[in-house]
Amino acid sequence: MAGKTLFDKIWDNHVVEQIDNGPAVLYIDRHMVHEVTSPVAFAGLDKRGIRVFRPGKTIATADHNVPTEDQHLPVKDMLSRKQVDTLTRNCEKHGITLYGLNHPYHGIVHVIGPELGLTQPGMTIVCGDSHTATHGAFGSLAFGIGTSEIEMVLATQCILQPKPGKMRIAVEGQPKKGVTAKDIILYIISKISASGGTGYFIEYTGTAIRDLSMEGRMTVCNMSIECGSRGGLIAPDDFTFNYLKGREFAPKGEAWSKALEFWKSLKTDADAIFDRELEFDAGDIEPMITYGTNPGMGIKITEKIPDGSKLKEEEKTSFFKSLDYMGIEAGSGMLGRPVDYVFVGSCTNGRIEDLREFTHFVKGRKKAENVVAWIVPGSKQVEKQAIAEGLVNTLEKSGFRLRQPGCSACLAMNDDKIPEGKYAVSTSNRNFEGRQGPGARTFLASPLTAAAAAITGRITDPREIA
């Protein structure tokens, strides 16, 4: 019999029961909730007259719709405040730990989980948010769920899941200078399209992946969902263990040694079989940028946008509709286009390493006059560290200011909306129509490319400046 993949091993460890010709009942180790997708799930429990089954396995934060300024004041938007208050009430009622606004551990759910050591190898982790895939960077099985499923986890610590197919994506070789984790994942998605991973769970391997820091690995896994896959994971190694050691909720003492032994066993067997395997050459990757309205519409920053002639007839409508929304001509280039906004943040690129990259790049330079820049840390801890490392100081000298943590312009549920028709270079993960505000136009890129745009006011190859 063929060996097992890492995914199989974690999955099999957590199957409570397999329904014939149906889904598996999967046990969940870690559940994270936020204010937007959870209220209806809690209301469901109330209707059924039941309580949360294992409150200790759920943690909560308010990140999606919170303001990123004046967080000490009550949330101004009435509806947002209601969601935040509802979350607080639900957590109190059910005994769930909440890292709400102003708590030292507050932040974007996918930033705080790893940061606190709540995310650990071999776990099943779910959250009512598709970028839960981020946690896969630690060799855990992590994926986003809907509100009905949140209710299932709250009620029984389990969900019903059909087993996805298995895909392996290897990125081999050494990336060029100026190429970041974000460029690697944007490159992969541009190659396999926004739906190329649908039905699969991805394992990322290869030297270019192994060489990434934990932050970089999180960026890669985070965007797994943008090619349609359920999630992505990377086998844990010394990088993983070193990152986790000493974190607030990581195992300590004897428990640590025991855990470590188990974590080291978490890898795909040599003879395991994947349903689909792809390999990319890291040397072919350049700084990437998207030009359209799905994350698969990305190119190397120096390339021209496709002219559409190679598309199938039925694909043309969507392609030109997308360019029309973006106000961009088919076949044109990206370099030199004026930029109105720069957003650095989100669960894709709102971690300390991202702020460091951005800051080092802009150090000694000045923000372009025509650019509004929103630099938003992923969490309170990231904010604290950015201050401690002097990043905030450097940023201010260059004309930038650090806001307070939250999802912010990634989905523009709060006031951080890109105005209609304006162009934003964004380090977030989605460039859908209206994602960053009604009529907003998004170019997804790395923190380096965002920094280059913030300095020049135009889309600029970061290697040209460095």
Binding site: G22, K82, T156, Q157, I225, R230, E314, F432, P438
Partner: protein, 223 residues
């Protein structure tokens, strides 16, 4: 595919346990005209933009379904959008490839359902959307590219034309011409839809088993 008896047995158990929990509406065979949305990669941000996710209950999302395609900035209906075209109506939405990609927001399924659709037909669905839809009594019907083109052709040519969606037989038929195609759904989900059961009822019914499982799992892991 043969109707799966073991899945039926599993959910029958639930029925005995069920009292007045929120059942989803039972799914019956549908014969309806269709609304054609001939756009690929319709993502959940289009189905229901994030700024409408601030509700704390699941009702009322239909009003904002496809909000930014349906209405302009001044909230006037956009004439060129299909939901504003009186010629087209019905409980079946026929959409381009890769429907429902993007966010895990279940609000997308609620909005489609709340607007009055019971079936979405496409040649490809995003995974999370499919799960969410099935959990809310909305049936995703995945057909071949060629069948999808035929549907679009027929609907645009004559909006009065109806399709029949038979979940029991797992078949979708264009009633005017008799052209039809089978579709997949797992036996468990099918039984749930037909009977109006939901997954939570099932999970609650096996709670003892879950507790036993926990005992074995926890000893293995580091906690």
């Amino acid at each position: 595919m043969k109707f799966d008896t073991s899945a039926v047995r599993q959910v029958k158990k639930i029925n005995q346990l069920k009292n007045n929990n929120m059942p989803i509406e039972k799914f019956k065979t549908i014969e309806s005209t269709c609304v054609p949305l001939k756009i690929d990669n319709v993502d959940t941000d289009q189905i229901i933009p994030a700024r409408f996710l601030k509700a704390t209950s699941r009702e009322g999302f239909g009003d904002n379904l496809f909000r930014d395609w349906r209405f302009d900035r001044n909230d006037n209906p956009r004439k060129d959008f299909v939901l504003n075209n009186k010629k087209f109506s019905g409980s079946v939405l026929v959409a381009g490839k890769n429907f429902g990609s993007g966010s895990s927001r279940e609000h997308a399924s609620w909005a489609v359902y709340d607007y009055g659709f019971r079936v979405v037909v496409s040649s490809f669905f995003a995974d999370i959307f499919k799960n969410n839809a099935l959990n809310n009594g909305l049936l995703p019907v995945q057909v071949s590219e060629s069948f999808l083109s035929r549907l679009f052709e027929e609907i645009f040519q004559n909006p009065e034309k109806k399709v029949k969606v038979d979940l029991e037989k797992q078949r979708i038929t264009l009633l005017s011409t008799g052209e039809n195609e089978g579709f997949e759904i797992n036996g468990y989900k099918k039984t749930c839809l037909i009977n109006g059961y939901d997954d939570i009822d099932y999970l609650l019914s096996i709670k003892n088993k879950i507790e036993k499982f926990e005992a074995t799992l926890l000893s293995e892991l580091s906690e």
